[in-house]
Symmetry: C2
Subunit: 742 residues, 2 copies
């Protein structure tokens, strides 16, 4: 079997990982009929922790570094990877996983908050690589092509999800810094030739400290920018005062998981400004205790447990007293009293803002009611698109899924492009001075005056990915026969550099009959929305951050979820990666499974990705059976949508496992009904019959287990055997699948 | 003296007319030095009423029809007209003027509400021509070129007017019909050759009623459209319900004066929907009494005076009861309890919306406080630009007069273009049926299904004005070296016809180096605003309604008033008309003069217009003295602004008369200081000296009279002798001016 006849199916975390226990045996059985092996690679948070410390574990507990192997594979033409959503871990999540692994007998070190010894520093460095969005950047050796498949779009038009009504009198809005943020200070250059650069800090005393050395490629775009700590804190205070005056709820929206260095700091300032009185009063004590506002107000709750009860109570009272001087805050969980500032990973801007816009521009208040809110998003670079959409909804009402068009995306993503690769070039200033980027010969390319506390960062965007991105945009515009807009803001230094390259690389393509334009973000989103409400499609061709934001924002309006998007990464080396379920790894789903044995995760994204992956395999290895498997899987998926066999949110109704059964049934039926391949026809006709004949008993077996708590032996690393038993509760169904490969 | 050495100064109404009593003697004296005669023409409301009924008046009270004479003049190359603002009379204003004239012994007939006899019908027809905006359409034989003069813009940057802060949480917005309005039903054709058309109504029974016959020119654009009465009333009800729910004030913004046939009907529906319970209960009685909601709720108050006291009281109680079920309404005068629905002429959209936007998007509530409001503007065609600006201010804050750019306007206005000439082609349907536009040969050009109560109208736009407008736009873009945007909405039938013509006529000009674009209204205003806040200018090239709206909207943001705009009408026949004070005729100013003998009217617009008029005269008649008068007047105006000698709003401080004194002083000083013309130098040096020497005593004489009520013998037609005495209270100043021509 050629290596190309292998599909790599990633094993990740939470709901997608649970669903994998049910779906993978089906996929393996079907794929085997075309001679295709389906192998898993463990890139879960727990798996990555274990791989990082393999050298320190007992021999029987050591694992290979699957992520590193996948990263290598991604740079070869053989790659054919189904990539499921995984946890982008915040510090609290990481700590949770560590604790769980230690309890399971894995001898991994604690997360060192304040590393002192060499061993602690080493552990901290290894954990840093596990934190945040640590998987996608290393796998994404290609740009991104995301769109709503026709069957999904048709389903949404026929069965529209709920959309909260918008009032023209809504007070909701997105507020952002007007100066002092990354946008205002951005500088950008394009390297005329390859070269070494140093990132240096020059102190007031003239001392030079080299922060980082980098080898840049010819044609690489290199940006630097900083956020003023003082202005950021002023901004937070101003937004709080404003909310206090207007009675609008205050809500913070950052991306502390992905922007794992800069945004936790931003988040921390929000926490220490909101609870300013407490942080002022207990500054010294909190320092001693190791309180870190970057981990949320929960860090205070955690750390003060070390104090005597009376002192704890005093601090809690002072925290409580803060609320009277501050505006109401949006709640993550109003029942449990968990706000937006509790931990940094609860509210992630690209998911939280579409949710707010879908809910009439409102968020949950502490009384469990939806209310207008000020969405606070310090970085004006991207916040403006949300304000634009909010204004649009105030004026035109909520989007109508039954009539609206679509905004697919072609995103610049390869090789850690832009801010999403900036983590190792992000620094929190410890003193006033100058940050500068210097060539080996001493030429200063860029510099900023900074103050202690400011966040300075540099971003890289390599030339080859840009060129590939332009090609992908033109290809997509041609294949979809749809206008495409490059979102490039003429007021951004970085975008002006990109614009020159886009203009150059567009000349490499036949643009006849295509409608390809460049616009600033506000104009681009506005034009796209005006077209959207008129039922017209517009491809957004964007940088890496907007790719991430927009492929949640528009799908959530159009489809109710971003998990139903077809998300293809044509790898630059020739392989393919097929990402599924952009909606995240869904901790709430796991909770429901454990408490009620119902998994509402929708594997639609996996179905869609598998179909494309099978088709690609078929084309690349000249395997007609593989192509047919892909084609029939797509048809089965369409039928599943039409027959409304997607998982229900309600315990007792059809769940993830049930929808896998229907997928298998419809897929087998499609294969049995086709005439292109007699072998496959013969092989799947019996399965189709068995499944159809036993539909009632299988569905009953799947339903019977629901309603009771289950034990899967772990959250971050559940027990495989227990989980498999929970996720495959129908002996009839399991038997039918087993019979296929028997 | 050539006829070209004559400037026609219009005599109008209210504050501008009062100011004329003070300013004109100065102007006459200065102009005489260049051999230029300044003649007045009475186009006041009172003057037009008297002219309309000259044949019915006593011989000694007959006047000539100055407006008709001016209209003739405007079509000749000799025209040089200074046009001051005049009353666009609503029915209540017209009645007020009639009553005053009758009291002054003029035997003009009453305004027949419901004309029966032939005489009444004849009177009604004559009054119809006096109503509303009856002056501008007949004089405007050219397109419009309006901009902020450099001195005025510089002054505003240095001495910014107050701008209310905007909150991002503001609930204010502009609401408009989403279907059923003129926009949605508009049809438009361009006449391939000259031809007669009939506007006909075809009843359900097939009966054809010819409403109007028209001779259209070759290339003329002809539109037809209607507003659904049912949908309009539903819309009003919906907006009222919405305000009741959200707690936002309700406020109606129409243009019942200019759109004198269609908008009073729209206004009337607002009244009868808001007070629905009352109009339902007393429908029959109100009919008998002659109550007309189109005249406002004041019509009820007026008409029920004929009833017994007890019945009056019952009705008043029922009116009062309406308020409890309705949202709070924006007040015109909260002290007197006068709302937006009192009379149709109080709230005029193009003035009221900029005022609201300048005041933080708020209007006055019944408690005398500023509050957020829903600005209800049924016609979506133009309402959208206000919503766009409101969203923009919510997002970017109030405009900053010290840094903002400018939006001059080139407006299509000549020969009653577009809606502003539609009054004689506007019909309120009395039955269901079809309205259609038919060629002489029976070809149906356009048609609409209509219902009783619907408002149908047709608009004309002649080809020559469009061609001239394109030329004026290119000329202005070239002379100002400023980008120009044609505001043409691709979704409007009329604008699509215009767009074709613009494309054709642009080819007649050298466009090299010019930035001329076409955009829909939303995009055009958004781009203009984005440029504005970056200090950049953008010429708006618009149709007639937008011309009117934008030349209030932007100047009020930029300069605090539209009265300071330079407003030139290059007449198509070669003459020139110079309009002043687009801000209206200011009834409140008159009130202050009568009660406190202080006139706060700012004649700046007259100064600016006169300077251009004198310069044009100089060029056309090769009169260097005239040119010099113009140049020095401009310099004097700049000095007046610099020295802050504009009228104060506060009684006791420098008023209109005082600023005229300073203008005369500076103008004389400029003429005395120049070396181009020795004769003028010699003539004005003594005046400059006299005025400078007597500055203190003249200002004291002007101040001394303030603070007491005065009698000018009338409002619509004041007594000339009394008024002149009031407006020229300084013997020292009067003597100095008299000496000039002695």
């Amino acid at each position: 079997m050629s290596t190309r006849s292998k599909i790599i199916y990633t094993f990740t975390d939470e709901a997608p990982a649970l669903a994998t226990y049910s779906l993978l045996p089906i996929v393996e059985a079907f794929a085997a009929s075309a001679g295709i092996a389906v192998e898993t690679r463990d890139i879960s948070l727990a798996g990555r922790i274990l791989a990082s410390f393999a050298d320190q574990l007992d021999a029987d507990k050591q694992t290979e570094d699957d992520l590193a192997k996948l990263a290598d594979l991604a740079t070869t033409p053989d790659a054919n990877i189904i990539k499921l959503p995984n946890i982008s871990a915040s510090v609290p999540q990481l700590k949770g996983a560590i604790a769980e692994l230690q309890a399971q007998g894995y001898n991994v070190p604690d997360f060192p908050e304040d590393p002192q010894s060499d061993a602690e520093k080493e552990a901290r460095a290894r954990y840093a690589k596990v934190l945040g969005s640590a998987v996608n950047p290393v796998l994404r050796e290609g740009n991104s092509d995301r769109r709503a498949p026709a069957a999904v779009k048709a389903y949404a038009r026929k069965h529209p999800h709920s959309m909260g009504k918008w009032s023209m009198a809504s007070q909701s809005h997105a507020d952002y810094m007007r100066g002092g943020d990354f946008f205002s200070s951005e500088q950008s250059i394009t390297m005329p030739q390859a070269g070494e650069v140093r990132i240096e800090f020059v102190g007031k005393d003239g001392q030079v400290e080299v922060k980082k050395q980098l080898a840049l490629q010819e044609g690489e775009v290199f940006d630097s920018m900083y956020m003023s700590c003082r202005k950021l804190r002023d901004f937070f205070e101003k937004t709080l005062q404003d909310c206090k005056e207007t009675g609008v709820m205050w809500s913070l929206h950052v991306k502390a998981t992905m922007m794992k260095v800069s945004h936790p700091i931003v988040f921390g300032h929000a926490v220490s400004v909101y609870y300013k009185d407490v942080f002022d009063k207990y500054g010294e004590l909190f320092k001693e205790l190791g309180v870190n506002p970057n981990n949320g107000i929960s860090s205070v709750y955690d750390k003060i447990k070390a104090l005597p009860a009376s002192q704890q109570e005093e601090i809690l009272q002072d925290i409580h007293a803060c609320y009277s001087g501050r505006p109401e805050m949006a709640m993550v969980d109003s029942v449990k009293g968990i706000t937006n500032l509790h931990i940094p990973s609860d509210v992630i801007v690209d998911a939280s803002m579409p949710a707010m816009i879908r809910s009439s521009g409102q968020m949950w208040g502490k009384d469990g009611k939806l209310k207008d809110a000020k969405a606070v998003m310090p970085e004006s670079t991207y916040a403006r698109i949300y304000q634009e959409m909010i204004n649009f909804c105030k004026t035109n009402g909520a989007f109508d899924p039954t009539t609206m068009g679509s905004v697919p995306n072609v995103g610049l993503m390869a090789q850690k492009a832009e801010e999403y690769g900036s983590h190792d070039k992000t620094f929190e200033m410890t003193a006033d001075g100058t940050m500068r980027v210097v060539l080996a010969d001493g030429t200063v390319l860029m510099q900023h005056q900074v103050e202690a506390g400011d966040i300075w960062r540099a971003c890289q965007t390599k030339d080859a990915p840009i060129r590939d991105w332009v090609k992908l945009a033109v290809t997509r515009a041609r294949q979809s026969n749809t206008p495409a807009i490059f979102w490039l803001d003429p007021e951004r230094a970085h975008d002006r550099e990109l614009q020159k390259k886009v203009e150059t690389y567009l000349q490499e393509h036949d643009l006849s009959g295509l409608d390809i334009r460049m616009m600033g973000y506000n104009e681009a989103i506005r034009v796209s929305m005006e077209r959207l409400i008129r039922g017209q499609d517009t491809i957004s061709v964007t940088g890496n951050v907007l790719r991430d934001y927009l492929t949640d924002l528009f799908p959530i309006m159009e489809l109710g979820t971003s998990a139903k998007m077809l998300s293809i990464v044509p790898l630059m080396a020739g392989g393919g990666m097929y990402e599924t379920g952009a909606g995240g790894s869904a901790p709430k789903h796991v909770q429901q499974l454990i408490e009620e044995n119902h998994l509402r995760w929708d594997s639609l994204g996996e179905f869609l990705a598998l179909a494309v992956s099978l088709e690609e395999t078929g084309i690349k290895t000249d395997n007609p059976k593989a192509k047919l498997l892909g084609k029939t899987l797509d048809a089965a998926t369409g039928k599943l949508l039409d027959n409304d066999k997607s998982p229900s949110r309600k315990t007792g109704e059809l769940d993830n496992r049930g929808s896998h059964f229907y997928l298998a049934l419809y897929w087998a039926q499609e294969l049995a009904a086709q005439n292109e391949d007699a072998e496959l026809q013969a092989q799947f006709a019996p399965l189709a019959k068995t499944l159809a004949d036993n539909e009632e008993s299988i569905v009953a077996e799947l339903a019977a287990v629901q309603g009771q708590p289950v034990d899967i032996g772990g959250y971050y690393r559940s027990n495989p055997q227990l989980t498999s038993q929970v996720m495959r509760p129908s002996p009839t169904f399991n038997g039918a699948i087993a019979a296929l490969t028997a």
